[in-house]
Subunit: 424 residues, 4 copies
């Protein structure tokens, strides 16, 4: 399944007039739309290889049809997304679910789809068939050195795979923790984890980064050994300059102020990456912006302000990735909706009258502060995001075109109805 250039053009030409009217309306009110459109065009969000199939919960999984059966088909899916929105030009691999059989072929395929290899993801939260040691009681925190060594070796192997592919970062998410009071010596777990991470850090190429992801709970239900941003930052600081914290929106306790965390981590120079999704209860892994779009905007507002304060490039300064699970939506449509929501939040953040905001803050004019933020948020920025796509030869309405072209039906035709994406 490949989308032809002319199909996108036909689609766009049907919508062009209506889009043009809306875009022009916006440009009359807003200064600097051109700059915003340019920034939107540069902004790329990586798609993880495990997000292309139907997700599930411990209670069940209801897979759809035409899901990718191999790394090549996963890349094909991301290629389709990228054709549709030109904002998904990166893939984040998960080892061992996506071990490339032939590195050169995979690199050539990526080049063909216009995809970059984003952060590599290791897996020490599951036991693989034939694996010597079990991660039942943790990996890098484990009381048994042999288990920790296996986990460290696996991560070093993942780095090697990443080097071969042209990636430059490693994301370490540890499920390590405990499910019962007393189970863990917290301090020893911390020390073991730190030691393990140090061994991985030592194997990191000069220009690589390692992202230490934190999560409040699940799959452990009493404690998590990298449980919040404070712990992640402790590890990152002890590790060194190549170590950073990674924020996943769904990994917090109820009511956490994530935008403040983001701001502080940027201030400390230790925010490395970002996983987008949305949630109401826990790590629900829903479509970005589907439940709390204002929070997403507030986070972007801090991201933009914090990166600007450090002179960081928005597109390349952090690792941007979607990390969602698609239980009831078509995975590809879900990803298109997520990317759209992220681009909108970014556009709104770019719209914020930063000078006016700082002035209002200096006067403690809280009413005005809110007005300035909400002025940006209430603006209908869809034409800006659409314009960025239009200029990049993507579709004005990605989900619409996905359906017009019957992409899913064709994928089912090619791959069959009963498929299971590797790793799910």
């Amino acid at each position: 399944m490949k989308i032809e250039r002319y199909q996108i053009e036909e689609h766009n030409s049907k919508l062009a007039q209506s889009h043009q009217r809306k875009f022009e309306f916006l440009t009359q009110d807003i200064q600097g739309t051109e700059d915003i459109v340019q920034k939107l065009m540069k902004f790329q969000i990586a798609i993880p290889s495990w997000a292309l199939g139907t997700g599930g919960t411990r209670f069940g999984r209801f897979s759809g049809g035409g899901e990718p059966r191999s790394l090549e088909e996963k890349m094909g899916d991301i290629g389709l997304l990228h054709q549709l929105n030109q904002s998904s030009g990166a893939i984040s691999l998960h080892i061992p679910w996506d071990i490339p059989q032939n590195i050169q072929d995979i690199k050539a395929l990526a080049a063909q789809y216009g995809l970059r290899f984003d952060a590599m993801n290791s897996n020490t939260f599951q036991d693989q068939p034939g694996q010597e040691q079990s991660y039942k009681f943790g990996s890098m925190q484990h009381v048994d050195k042999a288990v920790r060594k296996q986990a460290v070796d696996h991560n070093i192997e993942v780095i090697k795979q990443g080097v071969a592919l042209g990636s430059d970062s490693l994301t370490v998410w540890l499920a390590d923790g405990s499910s019962f009071p007393g189970q863990l010596n917290f301090r020893r777990a911390f020390e073991n984890t730190l030691e393990s991470l140090q061994e991985i850090y030592a194997a990191l190429p000069e220009d690589w980064k390692v992202f230490v992801e934190y999560k409040a709970f699940e799959p452990n239900f009493y404690s998590t050994t990298v449980g919040d941003w404070g712990q992640s930052l402790l590890y990152a600081n002890k590790l060194g300059p190549k170590a950073y914290t990674l924020v996943d929106l769904g990994h917090h306790l109820p009511n956490a102020n994530i935008e403040q965390i983001v701001s502080l981590l940027l201030m400390e120079g230790k925010l490395g990456g970002f996983h987008f999704n949305d949630s109401k209860y826990g790590d629900d892994d829903l479509t970005a912006g589907s439940v709390k779009p204002y929070q997403l905007f507030l986070i972007f507002n801090e991201l933009v302000a914090g990166m600007d304060a450090k002179g960081m490039d928005h597109a390349s300064g952090l690792g941007w990735m979607i990390d969602a699970s698609h239980n009831v939506k078509d995975p590809l449509e879900d990803l298109l909706q997520s990317v759209e929501a992220i681009m909108m939040a970014y556009a709104q953040a770019l719209l914020v009258d930063k000078q006016g905001l700082e002035e209002a803050r200096l006067q403690n004019d809280v009413v005005r502060c809110q007005e300035i933020l909400q002025n940006a948020f209430r603006t209908d920025v869809r034409p800006l995001v659409a314009e960025a796509r239009l200029r990049a030869n993507a579709a004005l309405n990605p989900v619409g075109l996905f359906r017009e072209l019957q992409v899913r039906e064709k994928l089912i035709g090619e791959r069959g109805y009963k498929t299971v994406a590797t790793g799910l």
Copy 2:
């Protein structure tokens, strides 16, 4: 302090051209804007008399200047708000903070400001000077019949005041509960409360309603005797057809799905009133729409759908009120922002393609369902709300005009800097 008609007109004429352009842009895309504007014009949100001064927490209170010193001045403040937005045409009184000295004068004053008397509020959560029985351990739940009787009598007195003023409903919010395990016999507390409510219900005029408000916690920190919608509904059903549940947005446990509660209560014919505010942690009483604007929209989406399904009139079908506390903003500006946010959420809900949504639901097309809702939410409806104000002779930019006219400065001039609104 009174705003003159010409001042509003001057203000509007300056903004007219820009507004007109935006409004016309919207009408080209949206069918039925005329109907929406008409509905917005009819929609009135009551202002509680206690929301006109600076609020506070147990840790402190930082009052502003020019706060109303009497019921008359409170009505004057709401009169100003209503002039500015023509959407605040009702006042909700709190007894004993606002006992009218002369009913006829107060009614005449209300007529002059164009204000209706919304639900009356009783107070059995504080001890008033000279009061015989103490509410330290509850009021209607109290183990001592004398305390319960005092609470019942007070409510009946509030009804009488309300009848004289032309109100037609009573809101009962009970702080009753317990702060420690064991303190309360839950069943006896429920029975006492029910019996007390029944005595009040018996005193309710034929055309009156009583709203039983629930709240999860605070000021009691272990249990609350009307603690959630399930309990409130139990009371309301046992009381009879004039009893209803009242939803305050800040009165829920973390992560509660309030829109679902609203929908079910409407389905059961037992939703009576609504208190608007916003919150992140508990009953934070922040400006409506300032933290979770999408939630506010989702709630309105259920309100509109549920009321339409029952053939209820949007404006008069439920009691609409703001219940917020203004700690760091000018109370009047805060209320203007709240009303604006509520009107926007209502407008967005009216914009939802209901038929398309039902069709998508019947096909389990979750992607499309989200698209339809977010299409309404992402639309910049500010011109619709402004148009409704313009037609009603209110200000295109209420907060802007409030500042242009230096309303607060003039109120300080009239009332002085050091004032405390009664009841605070």
Copy 3:
């Protein structure tokens, strides 16, 4: 694997003296220990057939060895538990995971192990191989009548199985809900669910009960159609006298006061069953009493008080079941710990000085109320629970004997290391 009577006796004789000293110490301080021991002996907690293997999360599952491969082996495991504690004399079956091949054989086996058939559990949250309709978008709430019919028919089939086995109740847990705003018409979902439940209710034998279980979230992450006790009670009331609410400790929003819910449901005559487990974050399904033992006691305090007020028999008045998932503990040891914790909470509740408590409440003597409750909770009641076991010919230290006898090692010997309990 069978435990011989003499093995238990040998075990007990070793511990007898120490136990006796502790038990006698208690009897000197506490009046009515004999009555408490009698009640503890009668109290039986059902074990669900799915709790005998290792559980898991969506991230992974680390199974142990010797897990039961068939219904017969599951019953064997519960038989072992029951021999060890004489408090687990009931099994709760899950259809289709445990469809008996031969009803008479299964009944005979149950009789041999001394097991009763507790509530039957249906499953409409997963798709079974060959199933015609999918539950991806719900079962009893489903927009498609055919899906609802399939779900109803399945439940009626489960009732039939239950009748044949001698069970007398059906537990309906519905995963139905939605994961995204807009996905569901809440009212229609409620009506469809109610209609489906009514069809099942109509098929219920005269002396049967149906338990409508509620859950706040998971596996749906935006709304659940039977989401809280208020909704469950609405359904139960609309269904009729044979319908009840079932409380699972892990199915609430953060900070919910579960003991108050229990108390109100008992007051309304609508509490039907109880699922024990413990949790810190969500439906963590941990060992009962492992995280919040005081909450477990407070709940039992309300259960005992509420049942006594209604003249209900403690042992038979409600359906008592453990519903936990064993991710890092041996399932059988985990269940032994859960039963022990439950028995202790029950014993502590029986110890509460009820008259003194009511007097203190009538005087609003909160300090004394707390003292009375904590006096019971702080008492070391382990000797009471052990004495009940001793008299019933169970082990004084069930986990200890389980290990002494190397039960798990023997089960692995019999069944092999790599087994997966059906349904997991």
Copy 4:
């Protein structure tokens, strides 16, 4: 009001026999009771001067009688507590609520009551009459340097008061934060706060410590500038070796694992102080151990283990204080209950079989880990705590004696019924 030595002795002699029996029973089972009793005798918990009157919420305050009207009377109240339990031998002052008029007199009074001056508390969350700058928009975070300077100067003044009294630490709790998105530049707020704290730190005597307390929310409802342990640790690390984090049990987001936080802070050498209370929803400030006694034990388990690992003295290694609010209980009885609960949790932690626990952890024997912890928790340690009191000439039953001697009635006789503790 003073309790005479003979009154305590008479009280104890009545209870002696029963106590002796229980204590001896315990010593037969438990090794090292003597060591535990010694440690309990040394352990002292400071009482803050503001906890001696009735607290309140923003909704109301129901004061009791006989509350202290001056610093001298507050010290008298703590003197009474200390006579009753010999575990409350320290007072924590709050400036400006408790500015001593004559330092020498106050020191003499403290010596008479056997009280030490614990950490000093500053107040920059309220405006005092005549204060030049307002803290409405924060203190140390404030955009206006003059406000920050006032806050810094106040803290330096508090240090001076503390030096004169013989205290050696300063607790800084900042209400600083924001109530609305956009209100605050998070990074500038952090920098301003850090700069202010650095100025205070520079004024700290050589042997003093400063405790940086964190709190998730309230009185600000969107962000708090020292909002969690991660932020507090950042400040403490940037300040230097005399700066520490202070943990208050009620200052966390829902479901936080406080014991893990405690463990990590001890590991980092940065835990300085501890505020005891209990809570279900937020900073409810309830009696310690009244809602979650197991959590209190788990925290003490980490405190003891962590302090032992660092060779810290339990009694003097950290600042121990109660920080509760008494809304429905007699403040003095409430404090007696809190101290009792804290001593019990400490005793239980001392009972834990540490070697056995570490061994079980090394074997990932989660069942055994839980058993070991719960074995300590389930032990009725009240006789140990009572024995420590008995040996220290305190009352076997402090609340009981408080009531026997009609302390409250006598205080009302001395001070009158209508009093308000300063600062409330």
